[in-house]
């Protein structure tokens, strides 16, 4: 089963949930898909065993075959191909790697070459297989790096995906095709506002989901009311605790410092298995 952990708002506790859930189960893969700012490795402290670069195909023009006809520029929606002074200029940072210009060149003058945009690193810690992706600074496109991380999914294991925050396309890329989404929120107006956006996304993708309320005693009841109204299952509530905040700030895991939480995360997993079958997606 592949479980993704997401949230509309950043800082609600996505990584905390993903990491501690992974540490509480057996036969687990943890994939950190927050490629702009991956930080699950800080808590898992895996021993990294492999590193591979992520490339996107960028068109390159063979000047000997090009006659400046401009067909490539016509088919590029992103302004990544320009014609000036009968020369073709490619702008890799705008290129989405769609392949149009390469295909439509009447003189076969364009071919695709690899440009590095990030890295994927894989490693282990006890029985957890750990993989994360990092987008290189200055590079614009997260989804190809996220897809590269997800290529490591081994369905024979319980796979947990730490998704990026928000609702835009990196998040979609991370949670698409997963079996269940845990939405982590906090019971404040900010948390609720962003939870509603995240619920919209997950419903559009038709994936079963449930909610975890973090720092559950700091805020108001509106999140509970919203979930009840929308028939959304609240899988777990984690109260605020300075102890937990301290553990997190040091880069330690809750389940190691407070073993009673291991049982709670195992129960969470059982609930998810049940929920996935009943399905709260509408």
């Amino acid at each position: 089963m592949v479980i993704s952990v997401a949230s509309g708002k950043g800082g609600t506790g996505k990584t905390t949930v993903a990491v501690n859930l992974a540490l509480s189960l057996d036969n687990v893969q943890l994939l950190d898909c927050d490629v702009e700012e991956p930080n699950s490795h800080i808590f898992i402290k895996p021993v990294f065993k492999s590193k591979s670069k992520v490339f996107i195909p960028i068109p390159v023009v063979d000047k000997t075959k090009c006659d400046g006809c401009g067909r490539c520029q016509e088919v590029c929606i992103y302004n990544a191909v320009a014609i000036a002074g009968k020369k073709v200029l490619i702008f890799p940072e705008l290129c989405h790697g769609c392949g149009s210009c390469t295909y439509f060149c009447p003189h076969d003058a364009i071919k695709e070459e690899n440009e590095e945009i990030g890295v994927v690193e894989a490693g282990e810690k006890s029985s957890i297989q750990f993989i994360h992706g990092k987008l290189n600074i200055g590079k614009m496109m997260a989804p190809p790096v996220i897809r590269a991380v997800k290529k490591h999914i081994n369905k024979k294991k319980t796979v947990i995906i730490d998704a990026p925050p928000g609702t835009s396309c990196p998040v979609i890329t991370a949670i698409k095709g997963t079996d269940f989404v845990i939405l982590v929120t906090e019971p404040t107006p900010f948390g609720l506002n962003d939870l509603m956006l995240a619920v919209e996304v997950v419903r559009k993708l038709k994936i079963p989901f449930g909610v975890i309320v973090n720092r559950s005693d700091l805020g108001n009841k509106k999140t509970d009311d919203y979930c009840a109204r929308e028939h959304i299952s609240i899988l777990m509530k984690i109260p605020f605790s300075k102890k937990i905040a301290g553990i997190y700030s040091r880069g330690d895991s809750i389940v190691e410092a407070m073993p009673e939480y291991r049982e709670k995360f195992r129960e969470l997993f059982e609930k998810i298995k049940q929920n996935k079958d009943e399905s709260s997606a509408k």
Binding site: E37, I77, C98, G99, L135, I137, S168, T188, N220, G251
Partner: protein, 285 residues
């Protein structure tokens, strides 16, 4: 007129609460919420939307079934798995590259202009706020953020404002870049955690790349004083100025729940620290 942007690299550090506090403390200002993916600043400022605009960016493919003959060339061409088995288009996966549209022998695929979001001009307790909401699964290229910045600048010029206070985007990509460029100062809000420091470093690189001066606020510092000290040393080494340390306070959560900035909600250590931070900013700029 000075522009100040509040960013954090990582989400949830207190960026919006601090932006709200600055909005309450500054005089003659316009606010801009550039976190278009998950905009929250309006919740603190008591805002009423005055104008709504539609934001169009890019295209989404659409198959006209009556013209489609099922040859499947579109499905082979599409690299984003957006063409379904029945040759209709999955709008969530579609990246609008138009390859399918160009290649279709029957011209059965139309590229429709995409409404990727909405942007708003609102009136708040503290003055005008420009904010936006990006649609679901839309590419956050920074264009909508750039638009929010531009509109905020126009209003500030019209009203002769002294400040534009910008609640920035999390992360390090285009939306953050569009939040940061051309500002007079980027204030990075960081929590005393390993992840916070890790992520702040990446965003500081971005700010440096665009020549925007950086200042730091350590938020909820008393949740881990050791880490706070480590962070202070780290920034001193890099010659990056720390404007102040704000303590953890449940009153902050209560103020958010009530839809108020912390400055209005109570007078305590937190507000005193924020006031002195704002004074420092005013002096510097």
């Amino acid at each position: 007129m000075k522009q100040i942007v509040i960013i954090s690299g990582k989400g949830g550090t207190g960026k919006t609460v601090i932006a709200g506090a600055f909005a309450a403390l500054a005089r003659d200002k316009v606010m801009a919420d550039c976190d278009v993916d998950a905009a929250d600043l309006h919740l603190l400022l008591g805002s009423t939307i005055k104008k709504t605009y539609v934001f169009k960016s890019g295209f989404t493919a659409f198959t006209h079934r009556d013209r489609c003959e099922g040859c499947g060339v579109c499905r082979t061409a599409c690299r984003f798995e957006a063409v379904r088995e029945n040759f209709s288009i999955d709008p969530i996966s579609c990246e609008g590259c138009a390859f399918c549209s160009f290649i279709c022998p029957r011209q059965a695929i139309e590229m429709k202009a995409n409404i990727s979001g909405k942007w708003f001009i609102s009136e708040t307790r503290f003055g005008p706020l420009v904010h936006a909401r990006l649609g679901i699964a839309e590419e956050n290229s920074g264009k909508l953020v750039a638009l929010v910045r531009q509109k905020a600048e126009e209003i500030a010029a019209e009203k002769n404002c002294r400040w534009i206070i910008i609640d920035g985007s999390p992360g390090i990509g285009c939306p953050v870049i569009a939040s940061i460029t051309g500002t007079d100062c980027a204030v990075i809000v960081i929590e005393p955690t390993l992840s916070g420091l890790h992520d702040a470093r990446r965003v500081i690189d971005v700010a440096g790349h665009f020549n925007v001066p950086v200042r730091v606020i350590i938020n909820k510092y008393d949740l881990n004083c050791d880490m706070t000290e480590k962070i202070e040393h780290w920034f001193k080494d890099k010659n990056i100025k720390i404007l102040g340390k704000v303590g953890f306070s449940k009153a902050v959560v209560r103020s958010v729940v009530e839809g108020k900035t912390i400055i209005e909600y109570s007078e305590n250590k937190v507000t005193r620290t924020l006031r002195s931070i704002w004074r420092l900013i005013e002096e510097e700029l």
